[in-house]
Symmetry: C2
DNA sequence: TGCAATTGGTTTCATATGTAACTATAACGC
DNA sequence: GCGTTATAGTTACATATGAAACCAATTGCA
């Protein structure tokens, strides 16, 4: 049953190697979306992710944003610098703890969100439309299992 | 049936957004593997990909390597510089066309390959072992469909 | 209290990556 | 043949990213 197709040390066929395939697919998908809002708002993927979590959770600190986006704090710090500068995110200092910042979307930030969120969803729909209902169900289930441990 | 759970402009839930999930998973997987051979051979992911295709296709030109790895030619050029320097890849000039290089793994390069390829396969096996046979079959089928168009 | 250890966040530096410009060679059209 | 155009590959520059050092505020605890 193992078929013994390739001994373990045989040259890898990248196009059949799962991590490679995931990487290519993921990059293509994310890049296509990012290109879209990058052109319209000069917004990087990391910056958009920060805005997305602030849209859901108002008042987070930078560290909390980092947790929710799985970005490191340096990346978050930089994204915030640009977003605050652009006027899309507001930053105040926490009452009881002067180290912490209190972040949120500004009016202008919400306006951007209002446009970008549907764009992102549209891309996702497009992608999923290549699958039938059964495949979509399996995909979600498989992703759940694969992600169960990995994202350390 | 559409359930109308979130209007199109509602805040995105990143953790349920397919492109985001793919990105997180893919990065976690690739990084885990890369860490492994990076530590042992100071070999970057792009460099390893170049070695992998040269293991399969001896004598390629740099452009052909770029095509097979989906990397751009600058990235390939840089990877090759390091690999040739390290003595893992040999570079000659094409007979009939002095622009073209003729690339291949050196003895030492094969020795590295002999170690890294099994490491990579081991990681892949590990990942796939979280799925049962049916899920694995669906996954491959789904990847085929999702990749059909995307990687422009 | 008072000082060591921790935490939130930014800055610095070294490295990686992408785009455009550039060099050398080869192919094409006449 | 000879100028134009295309191709293989490298270099230069500008930007992105990650790790470690850093600063300031807070916490833990003798």
């Amino acid at each position: 049953m193992p078929e013994e197709r390739h001994p373990d040390h045989a040259p890898l066929e990248l196009e059949h190697f799962l991590p490679y395939r995931l990487s290519i697919l993921s990059n293509a998908v994310s890049q296509a979306i990012a290109d879209d809002y990058q052109r319209r708002f000069d917004l990087s993927m990391t910056e958009w992710r920060v805005m997305a979590v602030l849209a859901r959770f108002d008042g987070l600190s930078a560290r909390e944003v980092a947790e929710r986006t799985l970005m490191d704090k340096v990346a978050v710090s930089r994204a915030l610098a640009k977003l605050v500068e652009a006027g899309w995110v507001t930053r105040a200092t926490h009452d009881g703890d002067k180290r912490r910042s209190v972040l949120g979307l500004s009016e202008a930030g919400w306006a951007v969100h209002e446009i970008v969120a549907p764009m992102a969803r549209e891309h996702e729909r497009n992608l999923l439309s290549r699958l039938d209902e059964e495949e979509r169900t399996w995909l979600l289930r498989i992703l759940d299992k694969l992600q169960a441990i990995e994202p350390k």
